[in-house]
């Protein structure tokens, strides 16, 4: 049977189980004799804990344990930040990792205070209600702008100015000089809202401890199972990593948010060991909003310098980031470095400089969420170019065209340090503009106007760092019947890895999907792994698989040559068959695999068996990019907005499976678009209480928010990995946030509305329209 290889749009292997209800997620797993746990969380945003009384709760029927910080004692270590930065005065950065449970004080609503384990979830909840915690409330701050005001409440009493740390990127002196000499300077403020990944499967885990061999087992929904194991072993329990087995099964979405340092994992393993029973914990949605790591939440004061012809001279920006209350590892500040050089986009800036101020607030930690700094960077530059176009009177497409990096300029190190290797940015933009009929827009705007509607069109040219340097692993194990098991260090959580990696094996080993068993997520079965995040798996794990396949061919060729009584150099391998060149004498890889387990039939000195692995760490990032064109219509009477057309042209390099790529692009646009249209985690500015604690208050994008999305691809393979793939997981979100907002502003700008912050809910749009109307009636100048 012919196998579907790289480049084919085959449907997914894994769908059959999802469609019949046989997907197996952590919440579906139960162990005999398991207990259930819940976390008692702080209702205060900032408070001292005077005392905790667990006596009543502990004595309730069915309660197995009510644990607080004093029960944990020194059993559990904490995680740490590796990137050590400084505060404005040069003192070390202020960071505090989550302890296991809060001891002397709580620092945000939802901060874990006690861990209650009982025979059932209802008993655990009832007991938690009887835990008496005596708090002394302190002033709290939930917003970065408020936190930076003089006299603002301190998120931590020992950090009065709320500045965790600052850092810089780029060349300050050269940038300042370019600004001083510029013909035009355009300066704007942009706010990127705080959102939640909102994977449909809330976080959950099930842990047990085997006292005989002294090992923990943890079933959990983490994107990086091996990292989970290593953090728990090295930093938390301080035991050899072989003493913990982490098992990841199907995951109901992650989007960056299901990271490795999850606090509940350590609590439930600790309790499982203490109680001698498996312990299961399932987050509720409201708990998820209270305690999961959130995404984005930053403020940008951005400036662009242009010469008289509209050429970009410099970019200068101040990126003010919320880092929440706890910074437990680099992950919690990741969105403020690594991905931020994307601020210069696909444009030829001679110089640039960015200052970062990382601000503490009484809110949960921040962490990567689909893009992790990339959508923010892309938002700032693509909004700023539109604003510069309005202010200079240069057409926004023309302004982009004048400054876009041409293929002849590549490779190129950008003003903020990215090393772009390849791409055809302008061609991609033209592809999207062409499909979207950009030049015919004015007619559509007039037609909409005749219907009483405001129509706008927006463009963005996102680029993002993907598949960053970092290892990944793959192993191939053949059995004596020629069947192979692929064991991957990456962790699928909805991307379709199983299908894509089987396609890689079809191309490289000529094997049919039915001959391959696929394993990921189990640290006892997969020898090494880093995990899936940052649009990396196809490039890194895919390449590791190609390397492993190469070693298989090398060994199998030796065996084939021996069997066919030919020289190794005369043996060709194609489509799963070794053949003596120019003859019809051949043997299949499957048959060679069988021979590999018959030592007497092997060439002298050949080790029996057919097991190989591959490790890959790219030397540099890949840079997928694209162009998004979005068209919206707004009803000025109600503020209701409709996305009427959405076109993407993008280059994610080689596509292992275009159908999967398109699905990823759709999903990214759904999330980026959701942020612009309606989503927002909101805290009361005065007391840092969470105002959006459920799906009643946190608006989620649904089917009727989106039109069909037209995706067209151009393919410029990267040489940074042998597959030529660049990565597709985050691209949609990176482009959607600016494209949609640019379209909204374009629709509103005839009324004089040129600044508008997400989310673009109907009430907020309506208010902006009405306020603009009032301004014009007064004869005030349009901003």
């Amino acid at each position: 049977m012919s196998a579907a290889g790289i480049g084919q749009s085959v449907t997914r292997q894994e769908d059959a189980r999802f469609l019949s209800g046989r997907g197996r997620y952590v919440g579906d797993i139960n162990l005999p004799n398991q207990a259930r746990a819940i976390v008692l969380r702080s209702p205060h945003a900032h408070a001292l804990i005077r005392s905790i009384d667990t006596a009543v709760a502990s004595a309730m029927p069915g309660v197995l344990g009510v644990f607080t910080a004093s029960d944990l004692g020194t059993d559990l270590g904490t995680t740490a930040v590796a990137f050590k930065r400084t505060r404005p005065d040069g003192s070390p950065m202020f960071w505090r990792a989550y302890p296991g449970l809060a001891k002397e004080a709580v620092h945000h609503v939802g901060d874990p205070v006690a861990f209650v384990v009982a025979e059932s979830i209802d008993l655990a909840k009832d007991a938690a209600e009887q835990v008496q915690v005596d708090y002394a409330a302190l002033p709290a701050v939930g917003d970065i702008e408020l936190a930076l005001r003089p006299g603002a409440p301190a998120a931590w009493q020992d950090c009065p100015d709320n500045v965790s740390h600052v850092h810089e990127l780029g060349n300050r002196a050269a940038t300042d000089a370019a600004f001083a000499a510029a013909a035009h300077v355009v300066r704007r403020r942009y706010r990127v809202s705080r959102v939640h990944a909102q994977y449909m499967e809330p976080r959950c885990a099930l842990g047990s401890y085997d006292p005989i061999d002294g090992r923990f087992t943890l079933y959990c929904d983490a994107q990086q199972p091996h990292r989970v194991r290593d953090i728990l072993a090295r930093e938390v329990f301080r035991i050899p990593s072989g003493r913990i087995r982490v098992v990841g099964v199907d995951i109901g979405g992650g989007f960056g948010g299901k990271g490795p340092q999850v606090l509940e994992f350590r609590l439930l393993l600790w309790a499982a060991r203490k109680l001698g029973r498996p312990v299961k914990w399932v987050s509720e949605r409201s708990e998820s909003l209270l305690f999961d790591e959130h995404g984005r939440d930053n403020l940008h004061e951005a400036e662009i310098a242009l010469d008289a012809d509209g050429r970009f001279l410099a970019l200068r920006s101040h990126w003010v980031a919320n880092v929440g209350a706890y910074v437990s590892s680099d992950r919690n500040i990741q969105a403020t470095f690594q991905n931020t050089p994307g601020l210069v986009g696909v444009y030829d800036f001679p110089v640039g400089h960015v200052r970062f101020t990382c601000v503490l607030t009484n809110t949960p930690s921040l962490a990567p969420y689909r893009g992790a700094g990339r959508p923010e960077a892309s938002y700032v530059i693509e909004r700023l170019i539109d604003d510069a176009a309005l202010e200079t009177g240069i057409d926004r497409v023309e302004l982009r065209r004048r400054n876009i990096i041409g293929p002849e300029q590549l490779p190129k190190i950008t003003a903020l340090g990215y090393h772009y290797d390849c791409g055809e940015f302008e061609r991609c933009m033209d592809e999207a503009l062409g499909i979207a009929d950009w030049s015919g827009f004015e007619t559509r705007r007039q037609a909409a106007k005749a219907r009483g509607r405001l129509r706008g069109i927006g463009l963005s040219n996102p680029i993002e760092r993907a598949a960053a340097p970092g290892m990944e692993f793959a192993e191939l194990r053949f059995d004596a019947r020629g069947r192979v098991t692929a064991l991957m260090g990456s962790k699928n959580h909805g991307q379709g890895h199983e299908t894509a990696f089987k396609q890689v094996l079809a191309t490289h080993l000529g094997l049919a999907a039915a001959d391959i068993d696929y394993v990921d997520g189990d640290t006892d079965r997969v020898a090494f792994g880093v995990g899936t995040f940052g649009s990396r798996s196809a490039a890194t794990a895919g390449t590791a698989l190609v390397i492993a396949a190469g070693k298989i061919i090398e060994k199998a060729r030796r065996i084939a040559a021996h069997r066919l009584e030919a020289g190794e150099a005369d043996i060709q391998f194609a489509a799963g068959v070794f053949r003596i060149a120019g003859t019809d004498r051949s043997i299949t890889l499957k048959d060679v695999a069988a021979i590999a387990f018959l030592p007497e039939q092997l060439p002298a000195g050949t080790e029996p068996g057919l097991f190989e692995n591959g490790m890959f760490s790219p030397e540099d990032n890949t840079y997928p990019y694209g162009s998004h064109v979005c068209e919206v219509e707004i009803d000025p009477e109600t503020g209701a907005l409709e996305i009427v057309r959405y076109v993407v042209a993008d280059d994610v390099g080689t596509q292992i499976n275009p159908l999967l790529v398109k699905g990823q692009i759709h999903g990214g646009i759904g999330q980026g678009g959701g942020q612009v249209l309606k989503e927002r985690v909101l805290y009361d500015p005065d007391n840092a209480q969470l105002l959006t604690g459920s799906f009643m208050d946190y608006a989620m994008p649904r089917a009727d928010d989106f039109c069909a999305i037209e995706v067209s691809s151009i393919v410029v393979p990267t040489a940074r990995n042998p597959l030529g793939v660049k990565g597709a997981g985050e691209a949609g979100a990176v482009g959607a946030v600016p494209a949609l907002m640019n379209a909204i502003i374009d629709a509103l700008s005839p009324l004089g509305v040129q600044q508008f912050e997400m989310p673009a809910t109907p009430d907020r749009i309506w208010r902006a329209i009405n306020e603009a109307g009032w301004t014009r009636a007064q004869g005030a100048p349009v901003a």
Partner: protein, 155 residues
């Protein structure tokens, strides 16, 4: 003892009447197709059919369904044959993480039952289940495909 029929099989469950149907299915009867997403009837991950009509089982007390027939995603296949909606979902590669899809398909089955040829607007109005992976466009395509295939079978 509460009696209920799920996917054509009669069950008895020794639970309180106010226990949500979702947890009776998942924790008592070990039927795991319906998923927990929010518990407040907002997301649709827990959708099942009650006498053919979609309900959010997280918010239905089990006592309220006496005498009604429950269908979960496990009950869509008949004699090893995929339901036309499942087939359309497969052909159009709808699922990503898969978590919401049982609820999505059941909602689509109910929609097609009373509206065999829905428009895009009908689909958007009926399919209010959340999919965080953003598979909405393919869901729309798949519902149309399922509608077409059911019609061609009927013809």
């Amino acid at each position: 003892m509460i009696k209920l029929t799920v996917n054509g099989r009669a069950h008895e469950a020794d639970v309180e009447g106010e226990m949500p149907l979702l947890w009776v299915l998942r924790d008592v009867l070990d039927i795991k197709g319906p998923k927990f997403g929010c518990g407040i009837a907002q997301c649709g991950a827990c959708t099942v059919l009650l006498d053919g009509a979609p309900v959010r089982s997280c918010s239905v007390p089990v006592a309220a369904i006496a005498g009604k027939k429950v269908t979960t995603v496990e009950g869509l296949e008949v004699n090893g044959h995929l339901h036309p909606v499942q087939q359309a979902w497969l052909d159009h590669e709808v699922p990503q993480c898969g978590y919401c899809q049982g609820g999505q398909m059941l909602t689509a089955v109910a929609l097609l039952r009373h509206n065999p040829k829905p428009s895009d607007a009908d689909i958007d109005a009926a399919m209010t289940n959340i999919c965080r992976c953003g598979t909405y466009a393919r869901i729309r395509t798949a519902v149309h495909a399922a509608a077409a295939s059911s019609q061609s079978k009927r013809a």
